[in-house]
């Protein structure tokens, strides 16, 4: 690489706010033609927001963008694409029921009645000559493998004149072999004078293909430089930074017998790819085990497998010393499990039913609230009122429809429901997402109290601070495997961070 290939895209002082939240804070970023530039950062560091600004999905509140030295503003993604900036999204923007060629022709035609097919065929041929990327024009996208779809997505952008390509975690859906192909392609595109931005969590990939790097943390640039002059450890330290929340003082855990034992658990994603590969995990009574990992490392598949709504390809799950044979949600709860799911709206609350019914959703179906199928309405009401008070759910009463409660109060109601059944094991997934400081503190206190009473907690979170603050032991999940289990006392952000971003080959 030459030292100054000429500035392609120069961002100066880009700031984007969502309400009071600053997603991007005065970001300066220069991307040159002919380089692969890695953009790194934790979840929520502001990478996605920044790239949405660059591609015209968001408009910045402050700051300027210059392309080849000319100031530019993009109000729509088409304008960015016309200027030569295109993005390969994590979820492809293809129509599966059309052929590859038909997907290419979906560009806005010059004349509305013009048949874009021959033009698209010609452009695809040009792209193939220039980059060696071959598509199969007449194959349905639905029949194409993931890597082939990604290639089509790239061809689509190139044939529309993209010169700066942004790859958002491109390896997430790829097999190692497909990744090698893509890495070669990125190098080739850069060699031909394109600019490539690679967003990735995997440092091995970054070191394999990138020329330069920029790390974002908390919405601001934490550092930038040449790949040649850095080490993975330095980048991890920049990404995770110093811990924001000091580790809270509390009594040490006094773990008892095993509450949840997972052995050799192998689970597939919806797409058929492996989500969990021979995962082993143990949570004992009286301790909080945190699972750290970037989003999509297999966390949701783990939860669904333990709950019993996702088939497992192999392995065993034991709760309270008993092995779950016919795995169903009913069996999970009967064995003493409780779950605070991540996606509250879709799987945890019933908006059309009352707060009381939501709080009693599980208790109402068994003794003592129900006997032989008949509900004791009086007892149910008393229980709901007691829990509403105990868990500080702010509502007009137990008859208020759940949908009318604020998110924080809905979450408290879910917490009340799950912790009040006296469970031996609580699985909490991102339990404070979207909650304010007070509510967050409340949830943390409740989970810790549950532990102190001898309950087991499995805490799954993408927020490293949360995992560090609450856990007694921390298991790091990356690419569907447990990369290591650390004692919270010995765990550091950097240590966990490097395990989180470790690649396939790391032992």
């Amino acid at each position: 690489m030459t030292t100054d290939p000429g500035p392609a895209l120069q961002l100066t002082g880009i700031t984007k706010r969502f309400g009071a939240f600053v997603a991007n804070d005065r970001i300066d970023l220069g991307i040159a033609w002919g380089e692969v530039h890695a953009l790194l950062g934790e979840n929520g560091a502001g990478k996605t927001t920044l790239m949405r600004i660059v591609t015209g999905l968001y408009q910045p509140d402050e700051g300027t963008m210059r392309l080849d030295g000319e100031p530019v503003t993009f109000r729509r993604p088409e304008q960015a694409l016309r200027a030569g900036i295109g993005m390969v999204h994590q979820h492809f923007t293809l129509v599966p029921t059309l052929t590859e060629l038909e997907n290419l022709t979906m560009a806005p035609a010059f004349l509305p009645w013009a048949n874009g097919r021959s033009a698209a065929r010609r452009k695809a041929a040009e792209v193939e000559r220039a980059t060696g990327l071959r598509i199969e024009p007449d194959r349905l996208v639905a029949d194409a493998a993931v890597g082939e779809r990604q290639r089509l997505e790239i061809v689509k952008l190139l044939s529309r004149g993209a010169r700066l390509l942004i790859f958002d975690e491109p390896s997430a859906a790829l097999s190692p072999g497909e990744w090698d192909e893509l890495a070669k392609l990125m190098r080739r595109l850069a060699g031909e004078g394109h600019a490539v931005v690679l967003i990735s969590h995997k440092l091995s990939e970054v070191f394999a293909v990138a020329d330069r790097w920029t790390v974002l943390r908390g919405g601001a640039v934490a550092g930038t430089g040449d790949i040649a002059g850095t080490t993975p450890a330095e980048l991890v330290a920049l990404m995770v930074g110093e811990s924001l929340a000091p580790r809270r003082e509390r009594t040490p855990a006094t773990p008892g017998g095993p509450a949840l034992v997972i052995e050799g658990l192998t689970v597939a994603r919806d797409s058929g790819a492996t989500a969990l590969d021979e995962v082993g995990l143990e949570v004992r009574a009286g301790e909080i085990v945190g699972i750290a990992g970037v989003a999509g490392s297999g966390q949701s598949e783990l939860v669904e497998a333990v709950l019993g709504i996702r088939p497992v390809a192999g392995g065993t799950i034991e709760i309270g010393g008993r092995r779950l044979e016919r795995r169903t949600p009913e069996g999970f709860y009967a064995a003493g499990g409780a779950l605070i799911p991540e996606d509250r709206h879709h799987v945890a609350v019933i908006g059309g039913m009352s707060l009381g019914e939501n709080i009693n959703l599980r208790a109402l179906r068994h003794a003592p609230l129900a006997r032989r199928g008949r509900i004791d309405i009086g007892a149910a009401r008393v229980r709901a009122r007691r829990l509403i008070e105990e868990y500080e759910v702010r509502a007009t009463g137990e008859h208020q429809p759940m949908a009318r409660l604020s998110g924080g109060n809905q979450q408290k109601a879910v917490l009340a429901r799950e912790l009040s059944t006296d469970p031996s094991l609580v699985i909490a997934v991102q339990p404070v997402r979207g909650l304010d400081v007070r509510a967050t503190e409340f949830v943390y206190r409740r989970l810790t109290e549950h532990r102190d009473r001898g309950g087991a907690v499995l805490l799954i979170s993408m927020d490293l601070d949360e995992v560090l603050a609450l856990s007694d032991r921390i298991a790091v999940l990356a690419h569907g495997r447990v990369r290591g289990v650390l004692d919270a006392a010995d765990a550091t952000r950097a240590g966990i961070g490097s395990l989180m971003t470790s690649s396939e080959v790391t032992a």
């Binding site: 969502f18 309400g19 709950l307 709504i309 169903t328 949600p329 009913e330 999970f332 709860y333 779950l339 799911p341 879709h346 799987v347 945890a348 609350v349 019933i350 908006g351 059309g352 039913m353 019914e357 959703l361 599980r362 109402l364 179906r365 129900a370 199928g373 008949r374 509900i375 309405i377």
Partner: protein, 366 residues
Amino acid sequence: MTAAAGLIRRDRGMPAWVGRVVTQLGVAAAALVVAALLLLVIGVSPVDAASAFWSGTFGSPTNAGTTLTQAVPLFLVALGWIVADKAGRMHVGFPGQVVTGGCAAAAVGLHSGGLPGVVAVVLCALAGIAGGALWAGIVAWLWASRGVLEIVSSLLLNLVALQTLAWLVRGPLQGSLDRQPQSANFPASALWPAVESVPGRTLSYDVILLPLLAAGLIWVFARTTFGFELRASGGNLEAARWSGINPVRQGVTAIVISGGLAGLAGAALLFAGSAPWLSEGFEAGIGFNGIAVALLARNSPVGAILTAIVFSSLNVGGTSLQALLDVPSSLASVLQGAVIVLVLVAAVLAHRRRRAAPIKMKELVA
């Protein structure tokens, strides 16, 4: 923030039920206006028509009996809709289930001549329930095992049921002496008992089903785990599944119960009606009108009693308008259609009003 607070206050300004009642009264008033205009157009005084309508529906014990008795099948179908709707399953197979239930009940009724009255009546009712439930069972099975949308399969099965009926009354169950496409008359012992003191014996005892079933259904929904799980499945299928309820089982059960109620409606049409034989047109639009009855009652079982009687009086009153004032009987159908359209309009309006506040809140937050 102040704007948001203002929206919340406006939303709370009036209890929800006041709005509902106002809407329903508005629908009734609009229907009356439409009716009066229609009558004026064909040259009939609305005042004369009103008095003819009253005397035909509730003016005498005989006519009141007919009106109430004819409300029962409508009410049963409406309950069927409510049960399925509470479980989140929207099927529209009521015409088909009324027909299959009626056919099953007729097949049993025609062969129950030698049985004591009580046994015959109970057997016919059970056969009706079984017939409707089995027909709905196909819909439920297709949904649960194959993911076929219940609204599609039930709609298509309606056509199959109607054709089957057409074949039955010309083939195996054909029994009228003049080779009409209808069955023989049911034996008198199988007919459902009527109140003796009402002249013409038009008031069938099955009207006690109105309060009994309404109260029963409310009790099941509110006081049983079955009803609770059914409502939870309908409220949020995934949340129900994640909390240990089997929403597929609840959905299947709801569809089958719904079909059973429609089948019972079929039996009631035949054995408590004025024409004690199976004929091609016995369903008479009950299946779809029953949905309108439930919608007009906003899926309230008690409300469905009232709206079923309203719909039934439109039917009966239309007949008497025709007899006394030469008003075409199709006018009653037009009026029913007008009511259904107005109900839909009212529902859309109510929906919008309910939605207005939260949407604005969301915009303010984002």
